[in-house]
């Protein structure tokens, strides 16, 4: 980011949430880069930006779409880059129909399942066919259930093959370029003014800043965080930015790209090596019943040998993983123990799990450094779910609210739960801090950094490594001798790690297993150096293929610590970045198609004609000797099929995707829909919300009516949740520390002076905020940093709610939890909840206690007339659904927006 000429921070409050990372923005700014912060609130990031542009929460696709339109209409796109490196010229099949043609829906929507069949979005094939997925189409409802979007953390979606049809003049209406152009034609500055509340002059300022700082000589960088992901179409927010950045040539180059600012020490690592239901390490999918019943089906579905790039070798990655886990028990005869893997049958994400708890289907729950009673959406559902468990294990540093809800939670106070009636057994097991255990964190730029152990954990504290190693040993010991087939995977598991004198397993031994090794031949036992050494014949093992190389030559490269000042800017000898210690992905794109740097100023990786190699400041993200002009037969498949101008080596066609023919379940192009709850009607389409969003119509998960429907005025305001610099997430690592607690001691809400006047809120007095799920109280911060926005002819007030506090007796500071107000509605690509925008009311004074609290929430629900139907229809435009409204199809039953 320090190399950028313009930095757009949108969906992130970087200076507050990543203060030390912000030094690079500050440095770019000091060198003359323009910094623009787009956010509903004026935050500490806005304070040090060149400009703050307030935006209505959830309307980002309108703004980004308008920027795309601006770039295309004004002919400001980077022609050579777009033509060569993106799929702009690729033809899409005739059957494709755009949201522009169908009132906000794309072709293939199945109203019954509330999901898309994406086959009509495919690339066109010669002779009228489509280039599908290698193992046939998967319905969006099924792909959504397994959060298939998560799979693309390292490689793109699979294609049957890469023999695409192209029109390099970009004139054919079926080209991606023309489709994109049409799709965004109505995303105008006027639309931005009407939907986002951003003035035309501010839009012009932004558009000029970005386009004037893009091209051969200059680059613009975007930074986002959960302000983009936590929406019912969060993945599409990021896609929209990706389209804009690809059009401007801002991918794979110094100071370019879209920077995901992740919020937790190793959250990147926890998706790479996923404790996620739908993934295996390295973004391989967990097998699904019916789709992946055999190893062959599984491998075929993952990647075709006919597609381009390195993902075509996913079979080698899979079998190396199975060998790492089951060693000699994984043989060619038993398909490398593929049937030892459990199968998915739908969505088993954390929110579905909580609903299963309420149905008494889950008996045991482990919370490992996580505080869902405060930190997850719909805190009440979380806590009530836990009260249905037989046993709960909480492993944490402090006595977090998720460990004490049975004693002092809000439901005890409201009378919904009685401690004496709760059957749940609770184990609190104290955990080790980061300095009391060794291991690697993967930070937000995919960099693995080793932490050395400083001291032993105090008292009975233990690392997760030690706890799970020991738990595994005990379970295996108790099952030893079992002849039950179901116990084989546990008994055959490779589970023999060397331990120290405290019984702590050696984390380097685990890292070595993750890295992988040769199993036979002259190198048997030696660590693998790179994932391209992995084989599908059982001769290699490796627990996470993208991490292969971190333990090359038996050296823990995550512990590399050559001081930064003794290295170049890429600092390759500090830690180890996956893949292959590469710092900027797709960096082949930093050179033009002929291999020369786009400009001297933005030089990074280039083709050295003499050496016949790619050289430069980083590890080239490209076959190192593949000359720029190479045009191999795409039918070769795999890395061998890559052309000299296919910089996107993990994409099945080697190109950056403006249009996504595969991989997204809610549409091939980002399209603006309103949030699940919104006081504004969608001005672009009759379709109000994302038709493919995942809704949970339940009595305990009611939604506020959207604009134009009865009861919308009962919850007239928008609220958005966020973090403060002084605290960390649900507070487990900050509200127990006096030094942090005293800096932000109390829950508060941020409101504009106008809203304060309208509702009679006293500065620093109390206010009660009511949503259809709950009501909480907070101190009132009246501030000009919150601005009412003029949207679609009326004023939209937004309320800011930090979410760090929770109700309990153990922390230094406590307070009501903002997340209690949220309901559960998920992005269908990744199953992340919409927590950055929802509807509420606010009034002065503290909230009622006990049963009266429940009565207050119920009174609002009744007044708004909300039912489990409210806001939960997939298609909100009856015409599009092809169903005439019945007698009950009036406003009281439906919730379609007025159009």
């Amino acid at each position: 980011m320090a190399n950028a000429d313009c930095i757009i921070i949108q969906g992130s409050n970087m200076a507050e949430c990543h203060p030390v990372g912000y030094q690079w923005v500050a440095e770019a700014k000091a060198r003359g880069a323009k910094v623009i912060h787009i956010d509903p609130r004026f935050t500490r990031t806005s304070a040090v930006s060149d400009k703050h542009i307030p935006i209505r929460a959830g309307s980002d696709v309108v703004l980004l779409g308008a920027l795309i339109n601006y770039v295309i209409t004004n002919d400001l796109w980077f022609k050579e880059y777009v033509g060569a490196y993106t799929n702009a010229a690729t033809l899409v099949h005739d059957d494709y129909r755009d949201a522009e043609d169908l009132g906000g829906l794309f072709s293939g929507f199945d109203p019954e399942k509330g999901a898309y069949d994406s086959s009509s979005w495919s690339y066109a094939e010669e002779e009228g066919g489509t280039i599908g997925e290698p193992s046939g189409p998967e319905h969006g409802a099924d792909a959504g259930a397994r959060a298939a979007g998560d799979l693309f953390g390292s490689g793109g979606p699979a294609l049957e093959h890469a023999e695409v049809q192209r029109d390099d003049t970009l004139q054919d209406p079926r080209t991606v370029f023309q489709i994109v152009k049409r799709h965004y034609a109505r995303y105008t500055p006027e639309m931005v003014e009407n939907m986002c509340g951003i003035k035309a002059a501010d839009f012009e300022y932004l558009a000029r800043a970005i386009t004037e700082n893009s091209g051969r000589e200059r680059t613009t960088c975007f930074a986002y965080a959960v302000g983009w992901t936590q929406h019912s179409l969060g993945a599409q927010f990021i896609r929209a930015a990706a389209i804009l950045q690809l059009l401007l040539g801002n991918v794979g180059r110094p100071g370019s790209g879209i920077m995901a600012l992740r919020g937790h020490a190793s959250i990147q690592g926890s998706t790479d090596i996923p404790t996620l239901f739908n993934l295996l390490p390295g973004y391989l999918p967990m097998p699904s019943a019916g789709r992946h019943d055999t190893l062959q089906e599984y491998l075929d579905a993952n990647a075709s040998k006919q597609q381009k790039g390195f993902w075509a070798d996913a079979d080698a990655y899979t079998i190396s993983l199975l060998k790492a886990w089951w060693g000699d028990a994984a043989t060619a005869e038993n398909n490398w123990a593929f049937d030892y893997l459990p199968r998915l049958t739908g969505a088993h994400g954390t929110y579905e799990t909580v609903m299963s708890m309420l149905r008494d289907e889950v008996e045991g729950y482990f919370l490992l450094g996580q505080n869902p009673a405060v930190g997850s959406a719909h805190g009440r559902m979380q806590r009530l779910g836990m009260s249905h468990l037989k046993w709960l294990v909480v492993r944490d540093l402090n006595m977090i609210e998720s460990a004490t809800w049975w004693k002092d939670g809000p439901e005890i106070e409201s009378g919904e739960l009685r401690t004496e009636d709760i059957e749940t057994e609770v184990f609190f097991l104290p955990a080790a801090t980061h300095v009391e255990k060794a291991g690697s964190f993967t930070q937000t730029q995919r960099l693995l950094q080793w932490r050395h152990q400083a001291v032993a954990p105090p008292g009975e504290c233990q690392s997760e490594l030690q706890f799970f190693y020991e738990l595994g040993q005990r379970i295996r010991a108790k099952l030893a001798g079992s002849d039950d087939d179901r116990d084989r995977p546990l008994l055959d598991l490779t589970w023999d790690y060397p331990t120290d004198e405290h019984g702590d397993p050696d984390p380097e031994a685990v890292l070595a297993e993750i890295n992988g090794r040769h199993l036979d031949g002259p190198d048997a036992g030696k660590p693998l150096s790179t994932y391209t050494e992995m084989r599908a014949d059982g001769s290699t093992s490796g627990g996470c293929w993208i991490y292969t190389g971190v333990y090359a030559d038996g050296v823990n490269h995550a512990a590399n610590r050559k001081p930064g000042r003794e290295q170049g800017p890429a600092a390759p000898e500090w830690g180890w970045a996956w893949p292959a210690n590469r710092r900027i992905l797709y960096n082949r794109a930093s050179a033009d198609p002929s291999g020369k740097p786009w400009s001297e100023r933005k030089k990074y990786i280039w083709w050295d004609e003499e050496q016949r190699r790619w050289v430069g400041d980083d590890v080239p993200d490209f076959p190192v000797d593949l000359a720029p002009g190479s045009k191999p037969d795409p039918a070769l498949g795999g890395p061998a099929a890559l052309s000299g101008d296919d910089p996107f080596i993990m994409q099945a066609d080697g190109k950056g995707w403006l249009f996504a023919p595969k991989g997204l379940v809610d549409g091939p192009l980002p399209t603006h829909y309103e949030a699940q709850e919104s006081p504004v009607a969608n001005g672009l389409y009759p379709q109000q919300q994302s038709p493919a969003r995942l809704v949970f119509p339940r009595k305990d998960n009611l939604s506020a009516p959207s604009a134009g429907t009865r009861g919308a005025d009962v919850y007239p305001f928008v609220f958005t949740t966020y973090r403060l610099t002084e605290h960390h997430t649900a507070g487990g690592m900050s509200r127990w520390l006096p030094y942090l607690s005293e800096l932000q001691p109390e829950m508060f809400c941020e409101v504009s002076p106008e809203l304060a006047a309208e509702r009679g809120l006293e500065p620093y007095g109390w206010a009660t905020i009511i949503s259809p799920r709950s009501a909480i109280e907070a101190k009132v911060l009246v501030t000009d940093r919150m601005r009412p926005l003029a949207v679609g002819g009326h004023t939209v007030h937004q309320i800011g709610l930090p979410y760090h506090w929770g109700v309990g007796n153990n922390a230094v500071v406590s307070g009501d939890a903002a997340n209690d107000l949220l309901g559960v509605t998920l992005d269908p690509n990744v199953q992340i909840q919409e927590s950055k925008v929802a509807s509420c009311d606010i009034r002065p004074g503290r909230r009622p206690r006990g049963e009266e609290l429940l009565a207050l929430v119920a009174e609002y629900q009744a007044r708004a007339g909300v039912t489990i139907e409210t806001g939960n229809r997939a298609i909100t435009d009856p015409e599009a659904e092809g169903i005439a409204p019945g007698p009950s199809g009036d406003a009281s039953a439906g919730d379609g927006p007025q159009t």
Binding site: L367, G575, M733
Partner: protein, 188 residues
């Protein structure tokens, strides 16, 4: 402490050092003269990484008598260049916080209070419950006879201060046990 000779008397020092107003060397106490930072007297310094956000700032952990006495930024880090935010700067308190829980606690069904269990007993009890729940909630096949080989009775939710090696063991053990509902903060 040095012998309290009259030469140490401030008034004498005021005269002998020329610091007649008694504002400098004349008034330094023995404690002041011996002052040393605890970063200099630590037994060892260990390189670590901040456990809060994902920027991945380098930390130096100073240890004296097997206690962490100071945590500050690692100037060698090309990511953070020695700097830390307020949370990173409070890391020492995270480790040594008086409110930190270092003992195993157990709450029996319907109980209103915690009781202490020893660690080995607690881990053993958890192992028993794990096996028992897995047995009780096992799903071998779906209704169409397709292999499932799993339990939906056990779930987990992890935070992202767990490191890669820990996540790896958790995923490996839970997958082998058939517990597919393994989730973490990344979904939230």
């Amino acid at each position: 402490m040095a012998s309290r000779s009259f030469l140490q008397w401030p008034v004498v020092r005021q005269l002998s050092t020329g610091d007649l107003l008694g504002r400098g060397p004349a008034v330094t106490s023995a404690k002041t003269k011996a002052i040393t930072p605890r970063t200099a007297t630590a037994d060892r310094v260990v390189q670590s990484v901040c456990p809060y956000c994902a920027v991945g700032c380098g930390q130096r952990v100073y240890v004296k008598d097997e206690k962490v006495v100071q945590i500050e930024g690692d100037p060698d880090s090309p990511i953070s260049r020695g700097r830390l935010c307020p949370k990173g700067s409070a890391s020492e308190q995270l480790v040594n916080s008086p409110g930190r829980q270092t003992k195993v606690l157990y709450r029996a069904p319907r109980s209103t209070e915690w009781e202490h269990l020893d660690l080995a007993t607690a881990v053993d009890m958890v192992a028993d419950r794990f096996i028992e729940t897995r047995r009780r909630t096992w799903q071998q096949e779906d209704e169409q006879g397709r292999l499932l080989r799993r339990t939906m009775g056990i779930a987990s939710l992890g935070g992202a201060t767990l490191d890669n090696e820990e996540n790896y063991l958790i995923k490996k053990l839970f997958t082998a046990a058939g517990a597919v509902q393994t989730e973490n903060q990344a979904r939230i």
